[in-house]
Symmetry: C2
Subunit: 227 residues, 2 copies
Amino acid sequence: MNDRADIQLTVDVVIFTVRAESLRVLLVRRGVPPFEGAWAIPGGFVLENEPLAEAARRELAEETGASDVYLEQLYTFGAPERDPRGRVVTVAYFALVPPDRLDIRAGSDAAEAAWFDVARVPELAFDHAEVLDAALRRLRGKVGYSEVGFELLPERFTLSELQAVFETILGRPLDKRNFRRKVKLLEVLVEHDEWERQGASRPARLYSFARDRFETLEERETLFPFW
Amino acid sequence: MNDRADIQLTVDVVIFTVRAESLRVLLVRRGVPPFEGAWAIPGGFVLENEPLAEAARRELAEETGASDVYLEQLYTFGAPERDPRGRVVTVAYFALVPPDRLDIRAGSDAAEAAWFDVARVPELAFDHAEVLDAALRRLRGKVGYSEVGFELLPERFTLSELQAVFETILGRPLDKRNFRRKVKLLEVLVEHDEWERQGASRPARLYSFARDRFETLEERETLFPFW
DNA sequence: GCAAAAGTGTTCAGCTTACACCCATGG
DNA sequence: CCATGGGTGTAAGCTGAACACTTTTGC
């Protein structure tokens, strides 16, 4: 009468960053069967007495050295046949890592890891194609009414960089003037008297993201209009 | 070196229905410790070789007799101390059951179960207050751009009934004329030559929900505007 | 002085909102 | 005939989209 399944629980973390105007995801190459040699989303088993989000942060730190970045639970995948070794249910998370938070050294000690443009991802192990797809849909769905667009940038950034992130996530160009007007209207950016110069062009003003102001915005639910 | 946690996996299902213009949730009274005598969200262990959604549907059918209703994975709760008996991670789902799909007999054989107005829910066992809160936020958040508002109604319904469901979920009144115009603009309702008469008033036309038309709408992502 | 990217307003269309009266029926 | 809920259109304000030129710098 006790047919509780003997289940192993893992967390997988879809780790995104932005580089050279492309959205990238971190994948690791599997060194052991099953799917030996295939690319996979980094993940691992949940430890005793470890909260799920903490397991995800541990995974994230092991692979990237990054901590204190945006992390969100995505979905739980539990098809019985998703892992040929047995019943393994995985709680998938996704993380947004600004380029300046990446620790180059991290992850290099363990398995091979590499960043892939999300438009050019190889075949993935397990049901990880589905996991990645869910993460991308979530990210794209939320960019319009949440902070995720801001969480991929370094501490200081230009409005053009911000716009490039939005365009990268959405996969389409945005109008520069409209974009700037709307962002400023949100009142979540702090304007600095610092300027980024790059090559032979006019320097761009640097901004930073005021996370606290965004949170008060959310409560007003101005961003969730009734259709 | 193998510190994989010995974890029990359950599914909990937040079951909503609408009755008398109030949004209700099904709760069961616990007959055994821990939290003996407290009200809880129905749930149970995942079986060997059972997909998570199937476990949720099984739970749902046991409690309500309903099948083929709207079911969506909500969130996975895994705080180590959430169940005093040990490490129990739960994958929470929520279900929307139209009143005509409820089987009165179901659930009566087992534990005591009852419907509660979501605004008048008693103290709940475990972290179920948090689970219910997440379900309500998800439901309210999605009513404006998804089909959830349509999934709580019987096969045939009037526009006033539909509006009442939206108002119940959102917790605020909507303008009748605007509501009707927008719903008709969506083109997801089938108009029938049947009329509901109730008491001393003009009969109301009956409609049904064309789920397939809604799905093609979703792909057009007209409903997900960029801010 | 020219190439390159930064920065800046206005107009128009479409959508959202607010709002009040007549209609069909049962009792 | 009256009480009850069903059903319908229009005007005003607001929001989103389209669009082009000037500025600052490095070379």
